[in-house]
Amino acid sequence: MARKEKAGVMDAAALNRTLSRITHEILEKNKGSVNLAIIGIRNRGAFLAERIVKKINEIDKSRLPLGILDITLYRDDLTAIASQPIVHKTDIPFDINGKKVVLVDDVLYTGRTIRSALDALVDFGRPREIQLAILIDRGHRELPIRADFVGKNIPTAPREIVEVRLKEVDGEDRVVIMEKEDI
């Protein structure tokens, strides 16, 4: 189905500022970076997580543990889709027991991705706390999930799609709203 760009929401500079603000909020709420760990949800959440860890390092020189979580195997809609999506690697190279884990993702929508992520995380151990950092919250929750740290709230219609483009994978830093086009 074709998509057409409807509106730009963030450019590269805005995205960077928002990410910096989220970083500071994380440090504020947790009174520093002690016992913190950042885990990004594939695909783009992982890159955002990496940037957050870098920013924290610039602020207080600490190097927080960083993990990548692939939630494909925990999706609740596997029976409904046409064929099995490709599974990518999960890599959590540290012990999450007792840690304060901040999950990072690009867009929060129905909340099902986050539910899968919580299921997956629990199989790795028992964190002390799990917090959620999101770049864009577009509403329309289908489960009782909420983010602790939000970059921007954007009300959207169901036929719209929020695209977060990142330099690491899309070549540019930009957030846009796309519209599904009927042909």
Binding site: L73, Y74, A82, S83, I86, V87, H88, D123, F124
Partner: protein, 313 residues
């Protein structure tokens, strides 16, 4: 790419992209077995039936564990082969399984082609765990994965397959897999253990074991069965070992980074000396670990194929 096949019956019919698709997936599944909780809920509610008409401990266990770690339900059916009358009971077997509302079947049988015949009679996904001397695709896939993991590539490698090629389904599947992915395959065995016109496949043939082990990057050893001696395929186990066995004295001929592989179980003192099987070149145990990951990947991939898609075998 999108996986379209309902069944995994052999490697002969697969494209290189399809083979790579499975190998790529396996890496993610390997990681699950390193977690504290070695389970994901992916195949929850699905039922897998193990149909092993030929005795097997390792492959059956591997599939069982693969299914369970994906949270699938597994049932083991081991009908005694004496109760199998060809043709008639085939349909009966299928009907019984369908009555259990099984989603996937893993089948091992001593008769070549058995899973293929079954696949024509049912919509249930079928995974071939070894049929006669024909194919053993999951074994070859885990072998390919092991090679790729260790050597970072498959194309251009010299892989020698040594032993009773004539009766080996493992050899056949590996020949397909390796040649499709660009490796150079050398078969090393006495002429009596090579199948007729095997040179029509894109392989090289050599009877000179010591020459082969000097040049190969991978040495893949097949089991030798004593019953073959009775059929005069070779004069004696002793002579076979003298000509084609890898003992510790021949080790110095190997390339430095050579890998030694074996589908297991190893006949210590026959194909390989104990020291070789347990030594630094051997990746035999990793093959077993990778076997679990490959089988999980296959169960995952096949479970997603909807049966109302065009039935590609």
């Amino acid at each position: 790419m999108i996986w379209k096949r309902k069944n995994l019956l052999g490697l002969e019919e697969l494209d290189p992209e399809e083979i790579n698709f499975i190998l790529d997936a396996a890496g993610s599944f390997k990681e699950i077995s390193t977690r504290p909780i070695k389970k994901v809920p992916t195949l929850r509610g699905k039922t897998v039936a193990n149909l092993f008409f030929e005795p097997s401990t390792r492959t059956r266990m591997s599939f069982e564990l693969a299914a369970k770690r994906l949270s699938a339900d597994l049932i083991n059916l081991s009908p005694s082969s004496s109760s199998l009358v060809k043709g008639e009971t085939l349909l009966d077997t299928v009907r019984n399984i369908e009555a259990f509302k099984v989603d996937m079947m893993v089948i091992r049988h001593s008769s070549s082609g058995f899973p293929y015949s079954l696949s024509n009679l049912t919509d249930v996904s079928i995974i071939n765990a070894g049929d006669g001397a024909h194919e053993h695709p999951t074994q070859a896939l885990l072998d390919l994965y092991t090679i790729r993991e260790k050597k970072r590539k498959i194309a251009g490698l010299k892989v020698a397959i040594i032993g009773d090629i004539l009766h080996s389904r493992v050899a056949r599947s590996n020949i397909w897999g390796l040649t499709k992915l660009g490796a150079e395959v050398i078969l090393c065995a006495p002429p009596t253990l090579l199948p007729r016109e095997v040179e029509k496949l894109p392989v090289k043939i050599s009877y000179d074991f010591e020459k082969v082990i000097k040049e190969a990057d991978i040495l893949y050893f097949l089991r030798i069965q004593k019953e073959r001696e009775k059929r005069s395929l070779f004069p004696s186990i002793r002579e076979y070992v003298r000509l084609f066995g890898l003992n510790r004295f021949r080790l110095e001929l190997l390339k430095k980074d050579c890998l030694i592989m074996h589908p297991g179980p190893v006949n210590r003192g026959i194909e390989l000396d104990a020291e070789v099987a347990d030594g630094p070149w051997s990746v035999i145990l990793e093959q077993v670990t990778n076997g679990l990951a490959i089988r999980m990947a296959i169960l995952y991939i096949l479970s997603g194929v909807r049966t109302n898609l065009k039935k590609v075998r």
